[in-house]
Amino acid sequence: MVSDETLGKYQMTVGIECHVQLATATKLFSGADNDERGKSPNSVVSPIDFGLPGMLPVLNRGAVDLAIKAGKALNSPIAHVSRFDRKHYFYPDLPKGYQTTQMYQPIIGPGVINIPMDSGESFNVRINHAHMEEDAGKLTHHGGFSLVDLNRAGTPLIEIVTEPDIHSSVQAKAFVVELYRLMTYAGVTRGDLYHGNMRFDVNTSAAPKGSNELGTRSEVKNLNSFRSVERAIEFEFRRQVELLEKGENIVQETRGWDEAKQRTTSQRNKEDSQDYRYMPDADIPPIILSDEEINRIQATVPPLPPFYRESWKVLNLDSTVTNALIADQPTAQLIQRILEKSGTASAARRVAIWQLMAVEGQTDDSGIVQNTGIHATDDYLIELSNMVEKNELSSTAAKEIFYEMNRRPDIAPRDIAAEKNLIQVSDESEIIKVVDSVLNDPSFAKAVADLEAGNEKVIGFLVGQVMKKSQGKANPALAQKLIKERLKI
């Protein structure tokens, strides 16, 4: 094992390729169902996907529209003319003996996206290009034989290719997380990582710090979680530095990620790399797009994470909080609506803090928010915020009502508060009675004495007792004021 100090002498450089499955109803070149989840093998395969003789591709315009939307999310231009090419290789999961892709004139790029980190800092990643292509089928191996499932064959993809602008595993993770958000926000993909809706290939190299040249890279293919991207890069960097420290050369090769062993293993090196004999696909006319058409489609893209980050600056949230909330698009939309409808940052900030707990409770291992169950109406949420603003509710009570509102969205927060007896008492004559009973309670005599003796900290304890006795309804600020008045301190 190389020490962290040794690792520190090297600069890591990473470029990422990401395959994004597009959320179209049908496949890229056929009318077959594009959602293979839960389908039996080879059940969503048309004669076109099957590569029957005489079949011709018919380009799915919906896939083109999603690519146009992806271009907006990637802050990258859409080509006015793009074309399809054929990439040839033989493999049983590739029915036509070639993959239809865009080698020479891709539909998107080049561009730059800004990636925020939890630290509040951000960095730029250049997008070399993104192209459309079709997915291949899947093989399963059974000892003496293998089975082919072509359900996935022909699923539309865009492959996003970055420049080598990433220099740490933390940056890499931030990049893939942001890419995930951009693609799901824009509605480009269903974003189901478990089913391979987004798959990452990472190209990692190591070079002595200060060196002008990049080291020889390895490519780890087919990573399907944010964490595996982070881990694979860390593993590769360490492996390469180890070799370099021993004076050995890095072999340019393709490697796979072993999730169980948390390590990469060699799959094939450059010498075995195939000649794909790329050629233009004469069966598919070029995609020709006018600015007007591109603008019309991109206008339907909903607000993206960078918009919310900018808009929420007035909420004065910590960047980690902002990112946690943006992880869930419905949450981001909710907070934005509250901000716009209430016209006050305080209401949006309150809803953001309430919703944060819901989001955090629903975030899975891969960092994806499952279901934050927003049901409460915007108006009721604003009303709830106003009740807090006017001291009608304690913050604890407000949280309780917030949860209840999502369970029973038809009931007004005031009604829930009344039902649960949570309206804060701000009537001094009511609270003074409770204050007196606490101050006169022999079991708190020591606390009262300490406070009178000048130990200010004890006041919190006594306020707590007032709250307890009032079943949480007393306005704590008022309770504190009254205690002080009674004891004349």
Partner: protein, 460 residues
């Protein structure tokens, strides 16, 4: 017989009688080996449906044959290859569907060079087809079977595909009309692909009007083929008078059989008598057309043949133990020598480092050729020349020399590369009685006006 004569006969007798007669003629002429299979059961069933009124249309009961690279019901679609020996199509080609929608009845599937690679039908994995006029000579190709059944009168028309002359050349060798439509005029859906950028679907018939009618039926935009053009074909009743016609002198050199040149010159004289002007024109890029063609077409066809791997359908090699053996042996058994030769050429010109030198250069040269055609069509309505440099040659004469075989395509390949419509019409026979064809070529989408001119010249 013409289509209208057949329709009269159906009216007088029955569709069943006509179809039965066609099937009988097919069997009587088995020694030509023009058909790979008969779709007898389905044909007779459809004939009965015509007779009972269940099926109707412009071609109700008219028998026809399709080249066996069209997906069609009733018999396997083999493309004259071993790899598709028992391949039963689950759907039919658009052209076949359109003919059936008009009541036409497919009675069989015609022989071809395997995967349409060839110009004589000698590359069929099931043996060659003989010429309708001389059994010791080739049918031409690759649509040789379709040309021969039309010439023998088995059916009034047949479908073929033309990538570099595969309809026109066998039409000229067998004395029938052969139509290469504008690229994109007829859907390629359901036809085993050879070269995607030059493949077109067309027909054989005994006269121009019939070929025109078939083109009218099978042409049109097809949502299943993105390269089809918006509908443009409509039958043109009257010929445009006083046309300016260019005789392509590059196709009339001393290398061309004198009797072929004589037949073309005779046709030119008739055109002049009909009031048209004919001038010699030059197409210098034609010299490079074959070189361009034999880069682009193998590149495209090796790609289109990559799907025949024995994994999902078709014949698979037995006793293999590795994946590469499965591919290698299956393709070795499934393809004929000419298929392999072209796959190798195609793979070579697409390889890394050669793509720019061959494929890209060929595409640039192709653009220059297209520009030359366009320039000529600024002045001329139609171009004329022979369809092939010679009448039908002897079986086996060119099989050992692929270059000599390729040279036969020299007059048909230029229009294929440019996507232009062209038809071959019978222009008499040589002294030995072998048919000669004259080729009429027009600008993009001028199919109807070529037919109009050819019709006006027929029987003159």
């Amino acid at each position: 017989m013409t289509i209208s004569e057949i329709l009269t006969k159906i009216k007088d007798t029955s569709a069943r009688a006509v179809v039965e007669n066609s099937l009988k003629l097919a069997k009587d002429n088995q020694d030509y080996h023009a058909l790979l299979s008969l779709t007898e059961g389905r044909a007779l069933k459809r004939a009965d449906e015509v007779d009972s009124g269940k099926i109707s249309g412009k071609l109700a009961g008219v028998p026809f044959v399709v080249k066996d690279n069209f997906l069609a019901f009733g018999a396997p679609t083999t493309a004259a290859s071993k790899i598709l020996e028992n391949f039963d199509a689950p759907l039919q080609a658009t052209a076949v569907e359109k003919l059936e929608a008009e009541g036409a009845i497919c009675i069989g599937k015609a022989n071809l060079d395997a995967f349409a690679h060839g110009g004589s039908t000698e590359n069929s994995a099931y043996g060659p087809t003989s010429n309708a006029y001389d059994k010791t000579r080739v049918a031409g190709g690759s649509s040789g079977g379709s040309a021969v059944v039309t010439a023998l009168g088995v059916v009034p028309f047949a479908l073929g595909s033309d990538t570099g002359g595969s309809i026109r050349q066998p039409a000229s060798f067998n004395g029938v009309v052969g139509v290469k439509t504008s690229y994109g005029a007829v859907s390629r859906y359901g036809v085993v692909a050879m070269a995607s950028s030059t493949d077109v679907i067309g027909s054989f018939a005994t006269n121009v009007s019939d070929a025109e009618m078939i083109t009218d039926i099978i042409s049109g935009r097809d949502k299943n083929d993105m390269t089809t053009l918006p509908d443009f074909f409509t039958v043109q009743e009257n010929v445009k008078p006083n046309q300016k016609i260019g005789l392509v002198k590059d196709f009339m050199t001393d290398d061309v059989d004198p009797e072929v040149r004589g037949a073309v010159n005779k046709y030119v004289e008739k055109l002049k008598l009909a009031g048209h002007t004919v001038e010699e024109v030059s197409l210098p890029m034609a010299e490079y057309a074959l070189a361009i063609y034999y880069i682009i077409v193998p590149a495209e066809l090796c790609s289109n043949l990559a799907r025949y791997d024995g994994v999902r359908y078709g014949r698979r090699a037995e006793g293999v133990t590795t994946l590469s053996e499965l591919y290698g042996k299956t393709r070795d058994l499934g393809f004929v020598t000419e298929n392999k030769r072209r796959i190798m050429i195609g793979s070579y010109v697409l390889s890394s480092g050669y793509f720019d030198a061959y494929y890209q250069q060929a595409q640039k040269a192709r653009t220059l050729l297209i520009n030359e055609f366009n320039k000529l069509f600024e002045t001329y309505d139609i171009l004329i020349g022979p369809t092939a440099p010679t009448p039908a040659f002897k079986l086996g004469e060119n099989t050992s020399d692929p270059i000599k075989m390729y040279l036969n395509d020299i007059m048909t390949v230029p229009t294929s590369l440019a996507g232009l419509p062209a038809i071959s019409v019978p222009a008499g026979t040589n002294q030995a009685g072998l048919p000669i064809g004259v080729q009429l070529m027009g600008p993009m989408k001028s199919d109807a006006s070529i037919f109009a001119l050819a019709k006006s010249m027929e029987n003159k």
